[in-house]
Symmetry: C2
Subunit: 566 residues, 2 copies
């Protein structure tokens, strides 16, 4: 069996190595246009931070073997053609036409099975100046090397990043933290990590970035990347100019599906991803495709999406190898689980954000917000934030987001939720989750449980939630129907109650009796640190016959985490 | 509605508070024989370590409110009778007879619904000397206070712990690490954490304990706790004497189900746990029970077990409150998830150990072992160990164990597996798990995936595993049919190959050609660092027509982690 694999970074390299292990007799030809293959693309930001000391560290196995052409060729027994471009696929003759980029020569190589793992291409925004010296993307190791060189040589004083997605935030950390440079990040949307997390969560990150000295510009309408003598000097938006000597375009990627399209394989016109079935076969059953260049099923919406993630690419490579080897494996789809480090915090999510859920037609989508220490108080590392997106009617879980200190606690919660999301759990299933407990690791009911409990209380209408966005709006409007009841200690609430006439303090410990005197004709908004006491007092008020009682979701800690100064 | 709750630590306190929130009109009477209620029992070892500075820290809410009688009474609105013993339940009259321990007076209190949350009682081994001064259990805060006092007063120079379960190991850390005392731990079984994890995992912990200076004595047959003038002076086993001035009995607990039994409620004669249905109702539908005193369903075996865990008790308390409030909630059972810290390592597990699985009749139970860095190599914190127990025939997952550095990485993997175990996953489901990836948190395929891949390779007979226990046995027997092929670098393998004639070195990078010269009449055992290269080379050997090829599960790192000096 002769197998050609086009693309040797994640999916392709994985498919090649596994297939060779399953079928040592197979003749496998791995083709890549680059000289670097089988490297950790997701590790590139950490080459910029310095955590990765040498670019080759991104190319080694866990046990220090460099995964270069020689390694693939001699040790793995895989014919490895680097600096080789796959120009054309002749599906009738089952031939791939390649061009050796160093010599310019071409050759036609026959195959029995073919794998397309051509990855993605960075999206370049359609603005002037993207070709200036000093404007980069972070698409491959060459980019990483060039950016690092400039950093090391002191050529970067004012870096600027366009796009506040995963790569953007990771690179901002590299510039700001490791290189201590004043860094600006421009984002088109009104939030960082747009569509991935919701604004009430993203504002926590935005505030953290600001505290770290990052100049965060949202709603940025970029007109032009400006240069002097061919070198970048800044970025002009509709209403400002940001000087910069290095600009990183982190504006997303699109599937590199051109070769597949030319060969007549089905490629989605909407996602631009190659269409594959669960076995990762394209519309030609002898041709498989995987990684960033294909579209896959989103397990919550059922829709086809492209999701360029190294972990998914590796899993798909494994599925492809198994199927080509004559066994059976499928890749069912994705729940879009992600995690990233951003300065001192960890950010994770899976499923849909509230905004995405509503866009996808989940009309009854809403959220529960839980803020708590992630472990027993005496082992605490500070507050973590958990947001659960669910359907109020069906009680189905739609998504989950969490932000916390840079521990693996965020990973733990995302791992748990992303693992069960494909089983279409409802809130009750989350409440029933058995989550191991010990004080150095978590709370006796895990943060997941506590978040699900809040969701359940919302579903059963045990309290009426109100968002801080709404409270702040009403405060600004001087809403006289609103009375905020702050349950914190007097010294905690003093400053704020002095400022706002409709913000009063009734300490929790005195609340049971004092609440009886509250006016019944006002909309009472109950506020405590994180929401638990407010919920309890709202229950008391209900029992006392109060009707218009609202609990501030997340407590005062939430707007504080946004940097809100009332 | 009048509700009496007997027992106010975990399940009882949770049931009381939630019920009051759901039904503020309910009259709730919380009864406890102790003066301390609603505290973190699982936090007691950390009062001994000093992480918890004052005993009251175990009694506070997340926001520093002390959960004493006054708090329950005045703030929660729950009638709270501490130092009050529930002596008898008259189910016909629906009355609980209580005795006020301070005055000796008794009273009969009527109920509509009753909750029994009487917890557990420490098992005292039937040996002489358990009543000596200086012999303790760690059953409640009073015990914790007394032990801590002795530590603080310098009365403890030679502590000794009997029983290497959760509490035993946590307290050993307190004595050894925080108080820098020479501590001995005696365990009846031939391993620490017996039945919870398998010996090939427990030996890693035993070695870690030894490295930390703990005197670990397994297979201990204790005859007597010895005293002088009424004070403990040591522990005598069948073949030794261990001097000690403080002995902690951490020999497990049994359900405190006496009151329920006396009231004629069904109590299991085998587990001693109160029998409850999924709604946590006893055989009397007006009486609920939860926490350490009940038996619950094990979701892997289907059998009834008692599992004294604070997290389960809290969940059950919540279920009880919901049901008494007239709503509907169930507690389905347990998969036995646990996690603990032990000096510098984290230990976690869920489901069945291999030994337990075989005892439970899973004849085809076997295991896969994966050793790897838990995150990208450039963020590594050292090796983690993952063991997956599964049924070779049905491919069902039966259990999972992991040991790693003290990060939340262990929690992340246990959370993921324990979350899906109730869905009865097979190995393919684990391989399909979507687990968020980023280099600071994990590897591109998560350790769970890599472990499941090894299991899959075992199921599909892609290699023949051999355990290190077996290899070491054969080495000692000088098995001449065995030839160990060590794939590590020459400098890594040199010492060992010089010592054993049947242990040869063929570095991985040269293996593809050199293995052809290996003898076909020997049992070849392929060894590398952790097993991945050995698997690959075994595949090559198979392709070359070799039949008797075995891969050492876990690589040489495993016996090294046991402290094995070949």
């Amino acid at each position: 069996m002769k197998v050609i694999i086009i693309g040797g970074v994640a999916c392709g390299a994985k498919a090649a190595c596994r297939l060779k292990r399953l079928r040592p007799d197979a003749e496998i030809i791995l083709i890549d246009k680059d000289n670097y293959i089988s490297y950790s693309g997701c590790g590139m930001p950490y080459y910029l931070t310095g955590d990765v000391s040498h670019i080759d560290e991104l190319r080694r196995t866990d046990f220090y073997v460099l995964k270069n052409e020689k390694f693939f060729q001699e040790i793995k027994g895989i014919i490895t053609l680097t600096k080789t471009l796959a120009e054309e696929i002749d599906r009738k003759k089952k031939i791939v036409k390649v061009k050796y980029l160093e010599t310019g020569k071409t050759e036609k190589i026959p195959y029995d099975k073919l794998v397309i793992a051509t990855g993605s291409i960075s999206k370049i925004p359609p603005i002037p100046g993207t070709d200036l010296d000093g404007v980069f993307t972070l698409s491959n190791l060459h980019d990483a090397i060039k950016i690092k060189e400039r950093l090391v040589n002191g050529q970067v004083k004012k870096p600027l990043v366009i796009g506040a997605g995963f790569i953007g935030l990771e690179v901002v950390e590299a510039f700001g933290e490791s290189w201590e440079l004043p860094v600006t990040i421009l984002e088109y949307f009104p939030q960082v990590l747009p569509r991935l997390i919701d604004p009430f969560m993203s504002r926590i990150i935005e505030n953290h970035l600001k505290e770290k000295g990052v100049n965060v510009v949202l709603n940025a309408r970029i007109k032009e990347i400006v240069g002097k003598n061919g070198k970048v000097s800044g970025v002009r938006t509709e209403d400002n100019f940001y000087p910069a000597d290095l600009v990183l375009l982190a504006t997303g990627v699109r599937p590199n599906s051109e070769l597949a399209k030319k060969a007549g394989l089905f490629v989605s016109p909407t996602t631009e991803g190659i269409v594959v079935n669960e076995r990762m076969q394209t519309s030609d059953p002898d041709i498989y495709a995987g990684g960033d260049c294909v579209e896959i099923k989103h397990l919550i919406t059922g829709k086809r999406v492209v999701l360029p993630m190294g972990s998914l690419a590796n899993k798909q490579g494994r599925v492809i190898a198994t199927n080509i080897a004559g066994e059976y494996a499928i890749f069912k789809g994705t729940v879009g689980a992600f995690i990233l480090k951003c300065f001192d915090i960890a950010i994770g999510g899976c499923g849909l954000s509230l905004e995405s859920a509503r866009l996808e037609g989940f009309e009854d989508a809403t959220y529960a917000l839980n803020i708590q220490h992630e472990r027993a108080r005496f082992f605490s590392t500070g507050c973590s934030y958990y947001s659960l997106i669910f359907d109020k009617k069906t009680t189905k879980v739609l998504g989950f987001q969490t932000i916390g200190p840079f521990t693996d606690g965020t990973l733990a919660r995302i791992h748990a939720i992303s693992s069960i999301l494909p089983f279409k759990p409802n809130i009750e299933d989350l409440i029933s989750l058995e989550l191991a407990y010990s004080p150095p690791f978590n709370t006796v009911l895990d943060p997941i449980h506590n978040t699900a409990h809040i969701a359940e209380n919302i579903i059963y209408k045990r309290f009426k939630p109100i968002s801080w966005e709404e409270i702040i709006k009403r405060l600004k409007e001087k809403d006289e129907k609103m009375l905020i009841v702050d349950l914190r200690e007097p010294n905690e609430a003093k400053d704020i109650t002095q400022k706002y006439p409709n913000w009063i303090n009734i300490p929790y410990q005195e609340a049971r009796n004092k609440i009886k005197e509250l006016p019944k004709d006002k909309n009472l908004i109950i506020v405590c640190s994180v929401g638990a006491k407010a919920y309890e007092v709202a229950r008391w008020l209900k029992a006392e016959g109060f009707e218009n009682v609202y609990v501030a979701l997340g407590g005062i800690v939430l707007p504080q985490s946004w940097g809100e100064k009332f």
